[in-house]
Symmetry: C2
Subunit: 313 residues, 2 copies
């Protein structure tokens, strides 16, 4: 049953946490970003979160009914436990939900940060009005969040949406996960090291000079300026992005894809190719229905989504 | 809300229909298989179904509360309409649910046959006790049904689970759907035409002599007899089957896969390779949790599942 009042949403990252008071329509008040100190122990971060919750409550006339928290890593959302987090290595089976609830005196809902982001975009952002939606975050890797029939789908162990490791090229290039041909090796920020190999040698050399380290931002600037090799790289990127999208579409029959993460800034450079590629790998039936859209709420989606889950929980 | 009493389940195929009275625990009474006549028009088949329903009701002391019907093709389950069916070409936007309900005087639930099969295996068969399960049918092509959080997941247009057209080999061999590299070209009955190419020429020639048309049944018999080339083919089959399973696992985080369809008879010949292949393309985390199992109810799953959906609907 839905709770009454507003909720506080918290989006915990590796270097800072974002917090805000969120209305039922997704408006964020008292938004703040707090740097994490050197001490990232569960106790230290619990302390920070509780302080923010108290400070937000002290500063509002609205009733606060719950706290929602998004954490990067593997989360047992039913029990509010963080099993592990790549950015917070000291966190192992931490019952963060209970730790905060006890000190803040409010119910706490915890989930993976990508799921909270997805629910934010689904209820208040680019996925609004659609009961099914797949969020794809394009950053160092590819993450995902599945909104199915209006709710986060968690899978058996909270690992739903680990789409970055879909195999798009069997026996392809080696991935950080130890396997080969994973999607995120072809359509995330490290992908350009691979995609550049499809260019003739002279183009490769010239591009590496202009875009040292092949950072997506550089390639984006070059492409926007009309550099043909850079434009080709974004085409390749879109092509592989589309293959993965088609795979998810064929599996789930979900036709709305919302792209977030740092690389979604370059949306206009790869969106058309990605769409064409996706449609060339799915039923014609989807042609007019497939929606690939950039996320709308930016880094507010995590806070809004976490609070929204807390209100609904 | 659940209805009281038993339900009648009907599994409509291209050449016959199966019907039965099903108890709440999935027991099937008065099972029968009725050949479809030459006239497969919606009116003729509605007539057949209504006759079966009446005959089953007349023959039981149990209260019959509803009818569930599985139809091969694209079904609007919310409105009980069959949009199209490859095996019943005359069926275009047929409100079969209403047609039967009106004449039989019972509520009717209609869904795609693979979904009804999946719900049958999930509630009474190999997937029992698991809230999430993916059914994969291995036949001429690859079909699928998704049971997520205990319910059929339909996707946006009832096209969830069209996993046969997941791309496992970008720019791979051409598929009947017009696209390239689809999973069912590498792990369904037509796959052997492709898989045989991985063998040396002499082995190819020798195998084609013994297994004309490369029918899975022949290859199965040869492999069971110890023929090394045939065993290799099943290894390749398992390898590609595993890649697709890994893709679904990575996308959905669902760890239970139930294999049905004609080729699942040869389960023992490919199960080990399929499992190894799937695990080599997913997080280690899943190693002890992944379950790949043969469907248990055979061709009764469709009848049991349809009736179960009707009782629950």
């Amino acid at each position: 049953m839905n709770k009454r009042g507003f909720a506080i949403g918290i989006d915990l990252g590796g270097t800072n946490l974002k917090a805000g008071l969120v209305s039922r329509s997704g408006k964020i008040f008292s938004a703040r970003v707090v740097a994490l100190g050197k001490n990232k122990s569960p106790a230290a971060i619990t302390g920070l979160i509780v302080r923010e919750v108290r400070s937000i409550r002290a500063g509002t006339v609205h009733k606060v009914c719950a706290v929602g928290l998004g954490v990067p890593g593997i989360v047992d959302f039913e029990r509010g436990i963080v099993h592990s987090s790549p950015n917070l290595p000291a966190w192992r089976n931490i019952p963060i939900g209970k730790l905060i609830a006890r000190r803040a005196g409010l119910p706490v809902v915890v989930d993976n940060d990508a799921n909270m982001f997805a629910i934010g975009e689904s209820r208040f952002g680019a996925g609004r009005g659609r009961k099914n939606m797949v969020l794809i975050t394009l950053g160092t890797g590819i993450g995902g969040g599945l909104i199915l029939d209006g709710r986060i789908f968690h899978g058996d162990e909270g690992l739903a949406g680990e789409v970055g490791h879909i195999v798009v090229v069997p026996k392809g290039v080696k991935c950080g996960c130890g396997r080969r041909g994973c999607w995120e090796r072809y359509a995330a920020s490290h992908a350009f090291e691979e995609l550049i190999k499809f260019l003739p040698n002279a183009e490769q050399r010239s591009l590496i000079k202009k875009a040292p380290g092949l950072k997506p931002d550089y390639i984006s600037i070059l492409a926007t300026g009309g550099n043909k090799s850079a434009l080709k790289l974004w085409d390749y990127f879109g092509e592989y992005l589309g293959i993965g999208i088609a795979t998810i579409l064929n599996t789930l029959g979900v036709e709305t894809f919302i792209l977030g993460g740092g690389i979604s800034k370059s949306f206009d450079l790869f969106a058309k190719t990605a769409r064409e590629s996706a449609l060339s790998h799915t039923y014609k039936y989807h042609s007019n229905r497939l929606v690939i859209r950039r996320a709308k709420l930016g880094n507010k989606a995590g806070v809004a989504g976490a609070a929204s889950e807390a209100m609904a929980g």
